[in-house]
Amino acid sequence: MDGRVTISELEKVYGEGAERTKAIEDLSFEVEGGEFVSVVGPSGCGKSTLLYLIAGFLDVTSGTIAVDGEPIDGPGTDRGVVFQDYALFPWRTVFENVTYGLEEDGVPKEERQSIAQKYIDLVDLDGFEDKYPKELSGGMKQRVGIARTLAYEPKILLMDEPFGALDQPLREALQDQLRDIWDDLGKTIVFITHDVEEAVYLSERVLIMTRHPGTKKTVTEVGLDRSGTREDIVTSDEFADYKNTVWKSLHEETQTEVKL
């Protein structure tokens, strides 16, 4: 299984002269192929910047980001981003949004349709193919966003607080759906969130970042037994322990913020 992301001595600086701000400093980290990693950190720690650097939307100031050993050069179809604000094309229907990447890839029409349908069914949106994004709720839009990114089959999913704008029951439903998709498809997932519970529930490892400039603070391995239901998992003692570990580490950072 491919999809390994290697980040070495990464630095990202915005602006020049007096405006110069260092968003990320000396960050080295590796995400294994097929691994589900969450990134948490205080606001302004550069976690979204990190995601956009991996996506290739932003250029690194120094250091390297490599996918399967190959340094990245701009955006590529080996990586797919799921945006917090969905970023669907409003002039395209659900179906046309999901087929966009396949069109760009030159996949023949019939094949395009069957692949798109497969992913639309996967996120439970069958029957909504001909709707425009404005006709959908936030949760449905984000499911389209996920289907659109899965459809062109990137090895790595980069998710920027994808459920941040949704209410609690919907978040939980989509978290479970994402876990199932990860179990089925075995993609590498880098998941940005500010929600400790979400990070622990979803991922195998949690990267906690320091506040400004952001760098690696600690990494928590989450060795949860995920065979049971959501209720079994979130009410277990081990879940509480992992949550506390991550929370304490994150809280130290937030405290520094308050003192300043």
Binding site: G74, T77, R79, F83, D85, R92, G101, E104, Y132
Partner: protein
């Protein structure tokens, strides 16, 4: 401008409501026509302000004899070509300037300089270059309509959501493809706003150009009938071009709403 359906008259069944609303919308115009009828020949001399009854019978006459149509078609042709060119070039220029610094640097000075010039002031120049007639009128309509379309397309293309551009990039869209696969569709609503602003401007520019110098068209009819003191015909032509312009604006709004089902 609001749509007639945006307001409600309480306590009426739905089908009657639509009809009632239409009637209410036209009441102000009805009042004006009645006042005009009363004023004509009393407050103002009938020769200077012919009453609506006289004007409408003259309109009927112009329509029945078909006299007005050749001029109306010429006028509409000039508007169609002038507006069409301004949409084509305005969209290309607006998007080009928004997404490319060299293009912006090159054209910015021309647009900034021509912006405050009343386009009808250029009619004598247009005539000097192109002669009296259709080409000069098309040029004036084109110039007058260009700016609202460029400005709307430009602002929209500058403001295209960066995440949409990134989404397309991650799915393999090249920079050149980006212009017509993402930037252009994303700006369509504002381009429609620009065209909506340009349609009445096109009529204003056209009639002004035809009034200054032409040998055909509705503006020419207004001018010549006024010069020979045939005021009922002059008024009739003013009413005709106003009605046509009104229908054009409403027709465009209907089309726009149909095109923009996704907004």
């Amino acid at each position: 401008m609001r749509h007639a359906t945006s307001r409600r008259i309480e306590g009426l069944p739905a089908p009657v409501q639509g009809v009632a609303q239409t009637l209410v919308d036209w009441i102000p115009l009805g009042i004006l026509v009645v006042l005009w009828e009363i004023a004509s020949g009393t407050v103002v001399a009938e020769a200077v302000l012919p009453p609506p009854t006289t004007v409408s019978s003259r309109i009927a006459n112009l329509v029945v004899t078909g006299e007005v149509f050749s001029h109306l078609f010429i006028s509409l042709f000039r508007i169609g070509v002038g507006l069409g060119l301004s949409i084509l070039i305005g969209v290309l220029l607006g998007i080009g300037m928004a997404r490319s610094d060299p293009v912006e640097n090159f054209f910015d000075i021309f647009l900034s300089m021509t912006y405050p010039i009343p386009k009808t002031a250029l009619v004598p120049l247009a005539i000097l270059w192109l002669g009296v007639g259709t080409e000069a009128a098309i040029l004036i309509v084109f110039l007058a309509c260009l700016l609202p379309i460029v400005l709307n397309a430009y602002n929209a293309a500058v403001d295209v959501d960066q995440n949409l551009v990134w989404s397309a990039q991650m799915m393999g869209t090249s920079d050149r493809e980006m212009l017509y696969k993402v930037i252009f569709p994303a700006t369509i609503p504002e381009i429609m706003t620009g065209i909506r602003q340009a349609v009445p401007i096109a009529f204003i520019a056209l009639v002004s150009a035809e009034l200054i110098a032409s040998n055909q068209g509705i503006g020419y009819l207004i001018l010549t009938s006024g010069q020979i003191g045939n005021y009922p015909t002059m008024f009739a032509n003013i009413v005709i071009i106003s009605a046509v312009a009104f229908v054009a604006v409403r027709g465009f709004e209907e089309t726009r709403d149909r095109v923009l089902v996704w907004t």
